[in-house]
Amino acid sequence: MLRQMEKVGLQYLQPDGTLTPEGEVAWKPIERPLKIEFYRWMCKIRLFDQRAVILQRQGRIGTYAPLQGQEAAQVGSALALNREDWVFPSYREHGVAMIAGMPLKQILLYWMGRVEGCRPPEGIKLFPPAVPIATQIPHAAGAAWASKLKGEQSVAVAYFGDGATSEGDFHEGLNFAGVFRLPVIFFCQNNQYAISVPFSRQTATETVAEKAAAYAIRGVRVDGNDVLAIYTVMKEAVERARSGEGATLIEAVTYRHGAHTTADDAGRYRKQEETREWVELRDPLTRYRRLLESEGLWSEAEERDWEAHCKQEIEEAVREAESAEVPPSSHLFAHVFADLPPSLVRQRESLFRLEEG
């Protein structure tokens, strides 16, 4: 049996908001604005997430995958990246996407079923969410491979959940990364459930991180609700990748507070006590806010101001997304090929004629 600490993973910030001795060491060199930024992002992402769930209930967006509870994992890892780095997310990384530079409006458009929501602004190296499980893992390995072959410094990150570690693409991606020593980071948010199936049904190993050994890459298990530990571990993995030391598999042990998506009922497969424990005792925002307050870096008034600011920004994004012009039906054909083959030109013309009546 693993000791409690090993189950949780590397931890710098304890649930009561105090730093461990290693945490003290990691905390000191971080610049004050970044310390505050950690919290601001977590807060904004949670407010966005809560708003998105309500929008789905109101029928204003489609089925949505909530991330509440996983803010620390996403914020800590994404803030350790640079703009030149590649991000290959699954469908739950709205927080990562925002930090990478995806406007909130675009994220909402995606969940409104609009393909425009897949396309980031120019220069943002963010892939659209991977809906099949684990398929983005080889993509990240390939992008990292290209960086290495071109002699560039950029690294690539694949984000995925614990369920993805059962798929062949996970093993193939990690194997390529090991064999070719690629500058890639595999970031697993082990939120304990793949829809309803618990982690114990995905693997007989105690951890995801130990699987790294099979591919001769580095594996780290970290408390996924501890933004400081996540940031530190990710920063180190990025630096290792940039300096040619190869890939890292990071397992962030966390929990999604809500259901898999708004279409599912988590009460069918999770015990209330378990969920309550994670929400009440291990919440990533509460823990970090305690630390900030004790250091005099955050206050009740700042909290109110920031929440108001975020809510305004989110409402603005909702307005923009809802008023975005609907593309004409012929947009179906817009980007299937670089140049439209004749048969598709004819299909598009038939659609035009239909619309003209």
Binding site: W86, F88, V115, E116, C118, R119, P120, F127, P128, V131, P132, T135, I137, P138, H139, A140, A141, G142, A143, A144, W145, A146, S147, L149, K150, A156, G168, D169, E172, G173, N175, F176, V179, A334, H335, V336, F337, A338, P341, P342, S343, L344
Partner: protein, 325 residues
């Protein structure tokens, strides 16, 4: 000009691509030191090195998936899948990602890549090595699918596929790898994707075929020529996009069509061609369009291969039927 086999022409196309564009890389199983199981990449590893001609682990999803990542990060990968029948572990990456990326990212991250795969029967290969499942890919929006049947076309079509901005599945008829030889220019040239080749002009029946079925169709045409029936033979060559104009023009001229492919019949590419022809040339047709295909059974082990694959006899019989109708 040199006399090249089809596989030598493919090798020559990749040499040119590697020489003129530093972003071109080849990746696959055994493509390096071994030069490919069919020797398609012979000599390229030695000449261009390990970073350009890459022996990968044995993992088709990994090969196609990493090639997609390479493509979006500025390389132009040419993937070799050892046999089309081995593409199925990588099928998800082809269908769910490579084919859709241009649409999903609204043109931002297209998967500009070529997937080469030997396919079809006729060489007495082991089980599962002789599949001809081009229809699976032709049915996938966002992919182009081409099949050369001559050394000249193989080089020109492969160079066109490599410079194409979209993902192209380049199918290589194994049976023809070394059975034909022809003059192939040493310089670079392209055979445009989306154009069929009129192999032989004729007046009475149009024979449509691709890959290793082209020589079978030609042989059947020869047989009927002796009996005074003139067959037009068309190598469809580009299965998607399709050169509908050349096909329709021919069928309007002859009034009869026989489609030959070695893949199973049901929902095969032949069904699509027949539907397209009846939509566009119905009033010119003198007889129902005939299909000569593999049967709807798993491609057999090679003891029964000849019974499965269309041959001259079966094609000739179909010609007789459409003439006699």
């Amino acid at each position: 000009m040199a006399q090249l086999t089809l596989i030598q022409a493919i090798n020559d196309a990749m040499r040119i691509a590697l020489e003129r564009d530093p972003s071109v890389v080849i990746l696959g199983e055994d493509v390096g030191k071994n030069g490919g199981v069919f020797r398609a990449t012979e000599g390229l590893w030695k000449r261009f090195g390990d970073d350009r001609v890459i022996d990968t682990p044995l993992a088709e999803a990994g090969i196609v998936g990493t090639a997609i990542g390479m493509a979006v990060n500025g390389l132009r990968p040419i993937v070799e899948i050892q046999f089309l029948g081995f593409s199925y572990p990588g099928f998800e990456q082809i269908v769910s990602h490579a084919a859709r990326l241009r649409t999903r990212t609204q043109g931002m991250f297209p998967a500009t890549m070529v997937i080469r795969a030997p396919y079809g029967g006729g060489i007495r290969a082991p089980e599962l090595h002789s599949d001809s499942t081009e229809a699976l890919f032709v049915h996938t929006p966002g992919l182009k699918v081409v099949v050369p049947s001559t050394p000249y076309d193989a080089k020109g079509l492969l160079l066109a596929s490599i410079s194409d901005p979209d993902p192209v599945l380049f199918l290589e008829p194994m049976k023809l790898y070394r059975s034909v030889r022809e003059e192939v220019p040493e310089t670079a040239y392209e055979v445009p994707i989306g154009q069929a080749r009129v192999v032989r002009e004729g007046e009475d029946v149009t024979l449509l075929a691709w890959g290793a079925m082209v020589p079978v169709a030609i042989a059947a045409a020869d047989e009927w020529a002796e009996k005074g029936v003139s067959c037009e033979v068309i190598d469809v060559r580009s299965l998607y996009p399709l050169d509908e104009e050349t096909l329709v023009t021919s069928v309007k001229k002859t009034g009869r069509a026989v489609i030959v492919h070695e893949a199973p019949r049901t929902a095969g590419v032949g069904a699509e061609l027949a539907a397209m022809l009846q939509e566009q040339a119905f009033l010119w047709l003198e007889a129902p369009i005939a299909r000569v295909t593999g049967y709807d059974v798993p491609v057999p082990m090679f003891a029964l291969e000849d019974a499965f694959r269309p041959d001259v006899k079966r094609v000739s019989e179909a010609v007789r039927q459409v003439i006699a109708f």
